[in-house]
Subunit: 193 residues, 2 copies
DNA sequence: CCAGTTTTGCATTGATCAGTCCAAAATAGG
DNA sequence: CCTATTTTGGACTGATCAATGCAAAACTGG
């Protein structure tokens, strides 16, 4: 009962996510959030309580989206090394479009570990990302495409660090060739030799 | 002539840099800058014109400091690969203390390429950093400690990306062991085999 | 069609934002 | 000691910040 919402909550979070992604938390005013989502202040505060809460929801939305995309991407890879090749290529292709980097990376840079609620999301997302890559590394060591000299978890940390490096290069406006060189070298570090 | 300044301009910029480093540009109010520097508003505006101008000065200060530290660090290395090993070790040791990451990295994440004046500083600093590392890579290929399969410039881009990845790991509060694993794998990527 | 419930638009809140103004204070040159 | 010049502290500016209040609007169950 009661008056029904005139907007789709998920879509609104998506728009808010885009705004935060582009300008950061402090750099995005509630007014800007109203314009980005097309909602009035009342609707935003009635639904999301506060700017901080909306940011957390946007961060969760981003993390879920990323997790889903990565899972889909890696599922289609035949070998372990192909997972990492595809991951780097996807990172470059996806990011070179808008050059907005990664919301998680930007958020880490903006907040550090100052905000416990946000840190918890960052940590959870990082752990999930790294453990997915750990599985890829282990798979690659089984199928002979990835060097067995390093532990799968270390390889995953390394690949994760490389992806964040690429995201930052993109946000900075680095040349595609430079990004591809980084990806190529990262691959040689983990490939079977 | 006129009343003399009661403070050291360089020291004030250093304090402002620390504040921006910790909280970012948008997250650091002019009030916070007064408290960090110990100056009154008048002194700040009389000397630095605007918050933006002070930020640019702080960024320059940070970049110079970094350039000096890196040059000093790399000068003491015997071989090419030692340069990179020392660079990664320094990044981990230096950053693990305060876990504030890197002002340049944080600034890239906050601004992207939205602010031309800031972008120009970022680009210049990145170019200087990468070209220093390019020289290390070339040196390493000459002295036989670095793999010749890749171009020195690509190796430099890769190492630079690794350093930014490490800086972000630190800001996020990653475990030291994970950071060391990343550094170790990056080294195996470029070492002669 | 009415009572109860929720959403919405708009005005408004007090706090804080970056930046300015001004008069007192502190110097140097004459 | 006087004048010109600069710095300094502190009050002040209008704008914008995140968040709230309130009443009209829009629905559902009865």
């Amino acid at each position: 009962m009661g008056r029904p919402k005139e907007f789709d909550e998920r879509a609104a979070i998506g728009r808010a996510m885009e705004a935060f992604w582009e300008r950061g938390y402090e750099g995005t005013s509630t007014q800007a959030l109203c314009e980005a989502t097309g909602l009035g202040r009342s609707s935003i505060y009635n639904t999301f309580t506060s700017k901080h809460e909306l940011f957390v929801r946007a961060l969760d939305h981003y993390a879920e989206r990323g997790q889903r995309d990565r899972a889909e991407l890696l599922e289609s890879c035949e070998t372990g090394i192909e997972c990492f090749r595809a991951l780097f290529a996807y990172t470059i292709d996806d990011d070179i479009q808008g050059r907005r980097g990664c919301l998680v990376v930007n958020t880490v840079a903006e907040f550090g570990d100052r905000d416990p609620e946000i840190s918890a999301r960052i940590d959870a997302d990082t752990r999930r990302h790294v453990s997915l890559l750990t599985a890829c590394a282990a798979e690659g060591q089984r199928d002979g495409t990835i060097d067995t000299a390093h532990r799968p978890g270390d390889i995953a940390e390394f690949a994760h660090s490389t992806v964040t490096g690429l995201r930052l290069m993109s946000r900075r406006g680095a040349e595609r060739a430079a990004m591809e060189a980084v990806a190529e070298l990262a691959l040689t570090a983990i490939a079977a030799r």
